[in-house]
């Protein structure tokens, strides 16, 4: 079986589990929504919220990413499924790719919901000329986040204290995505007079990040989970 096919099967399996268990819709999305509301409590003034909305969208995404990654590997380690897949001789790169793809799909759903929350709660508007930039940013940033999240999630799975280790490893690693995606979305939404053309250099950064960690992650995943 080709690696690509295995990756698709692993991704489909993860997504099927999410659809049936409804953890994403019942727990993670509400969590992200609550985060958006408490940001408003902390920042108070409407003008401030309007100004920092793109950053808050990504901050809420990062926090939810941690929850999603933990969830993604909890379903594997509970039954020793990750070990079973390795014993069955599946290519670790394919497992990594599959889990990252499933995580990316979940993140995209989450980001779209957060974006609409920001439109309603933080009074954001999406100008027509920013749509292409916005969609490209969402896609590239999501790939980077999924690559990093799956990598460190795999490392932290199966150890005591993994809940605390995951944020420590993941948050510094995704800092470039937080910076890049926030600026790109600011450009796309025209926050504080940002123009669309400024956003594309940030998309470049996001793309380099996604490719670097995608390649690095697929190579490192095998040694990391191979216990």
């Amino acid at each position: 079986m080709s690696s690509w096919r295995i990756a698709r099967i692993v991704a489909a399996k993860d997504l099927r589990i999410e659809v049936h268990s409804r953890v994403l819709t019942n727990q993670v999305l509400p969590f992200a929504g609550v985060t958006m509301v408490i940001f408003a409590f902390a920042l108070d003034a409407d003008s401030v919220l309007e100004r920092v909305a793109p950053g808050l969208i990504w901050l809420a995404t990062m926090f939810s990413l941690l929850v999603l990654v933990q969830r993604s590997f909890a379903i594997e380690t509970d039954d020793g499924a990750l070990d079973a897949m390795r014993v069955a001789g599946l290519d670790p790169r394919a497992i990594y790719l599959g889990k990252a793809m499933a995580l990316a799909v979940e993140l995209l759903v989450l980001e779209v919901v957060l974006l609409f929350t920001a439109i309603i709660l933080y009074r954001q508007t999406i100008p027509l000329n920013g749509v292409v930039l916005l969609v490209t940013t969402l896609l590239t940033a999501t790939c980077g986040l999924a690559a990093v999240g799956t990598l460190y999630g795999g490392l932290a799975s199966g150890f005591k204290g993994r809940e605390t280790l995951l944020p420590l490893l993941t948050l510094p690693a995704v800092a470039p995505v937080l910076i890049g995606a926030t600026r790109a979305v600011e450009s796309a939404l025209g926050t504080a007079g940002a123009v669309v053309s400024d956003g594309w250099s940030w998309v470049g950064l996001l793309a380099v990040f996604a490719v670097t960690f995608g390649v690095g992650g697929s190579l490192a995943f095998g040694p990391l989970i191979d216990e």
């Binding site: 990598l151 420590l168 690693a173 800092a175 890049g180 250099s201 490192a220 040694p223 216990e227």
Partner: protein, 260 residues
């Protein structure tokens, strides 16, 4: 039981991790530190703008230099462990020892830098590209050290931390790039350029050189000792269990003997 490469010299010497060579190195380090104090606090002139505060530089610059050196050593040692034909745990311990020292020195750089910033800029912290990158560098290696303590066999620890050590090298240029882009777009000009406005006089430059030499020697001394302590820790984990088992067996044998 996992095998580790034996270090007979360390095993025989139960008193500590020192050897004649490291003792000499330690003495040279102390002498060069005294030299640094003499030049840094005594001979070198005060700065025109910063006055006496400029003397912090003789600690600040060497500490960050040591941190970079230490992280390069960690990356190289991680690569040598991972890709070397003989998976020697010595490389892993070198990587770990170097990362521990590097992280400590980054923390020192941040603290000393914050104090210097308070004196010369009036603030402890500024979201300048270099400062932000350094802070993320610190957190990244704190994460690396946490990974080293995950548990498992020595080989598992070595492989895991070598991979994370190499990933950190991938990450840092990206962090630096993004942070620099972030600040250059959002701040007109960095008033707080840490090296721009220091008019470096010859004696100051020499004092700085003394600082770098003294701290490099200190780093080498620390790495040697820390690596040996790690070897001892590994050995204790391996042989400690064997010895406990042997003691239990002896106990059982004497008990059986008494019963018969």
């Amino acid at each position: 039981m996992t095998t580790i490469d034996k270090a007979p010299t360390v095993q025989r010497r139960s008193a500590g991790t020192g050897t004649p060579a490291t003792r000499i190195l330690g003495i040279i380090t102390i002498v060069s530190m005294v030299w640094l104090v003499a030049f840094g606090l005594g001979f070198s002139p005060a700065d025109r703008d910063q006055e006496e505060a400029v003397r912090i530089m003789y600690v600040h610059v060497p500490t960050i230099w040591i941190a970079y050196l230490a992280f390069v050593v960690t990356a190289v040692a991680s690569g040598l462990y991972l890709f070397g034909r003989k998976k020697s745990l010595g490389w892993d311990r070198l990587a770990g020892a170097s990362a521990e020292i590097g992280t400590t020195f980054v923390a020192m750089t941040l603290v000393v830098g914050a104090l210097w910033g308070r004196l010369t800029w009036g603030v402890f912290w500024q979201w300048d590209a270099r400062l932000t990158t350094t802070a993320l560098l610190f957190v990244t290696y704190v994460g690396y050290l946490a990974v080293r303590r995950l548990g498992g066999s020595h080989e598992q620890r070595a492989r895991r931390s070598a991979v994370i050590g190499l990933l950190a090298v991938l990450l840092l240029p990206l962090v630096h790039w993004s942070v620099r882009l972030w600040r250059s777009l959002h701040q007109e000009a960095t008033v707080l350029d840490t090296d721009g406005d220091i008019d470096m006089d010859g004696l100051m430059l020499f004092s700085l050189f003394v600082g770098v030499v003294a701290f490099t020697l200190f780093y080498i001394w620390l790495v040697l000792h820390r690596t040996r302590v790690m070897a001892m820790e590994d050995m204790m984990e391996d042989h400690g269990l064997d010895e406990a088992l042997a003691a239990r067996r002896r106990e059982a044998a004497t008990l059986n003997g008494e019963e018969n």
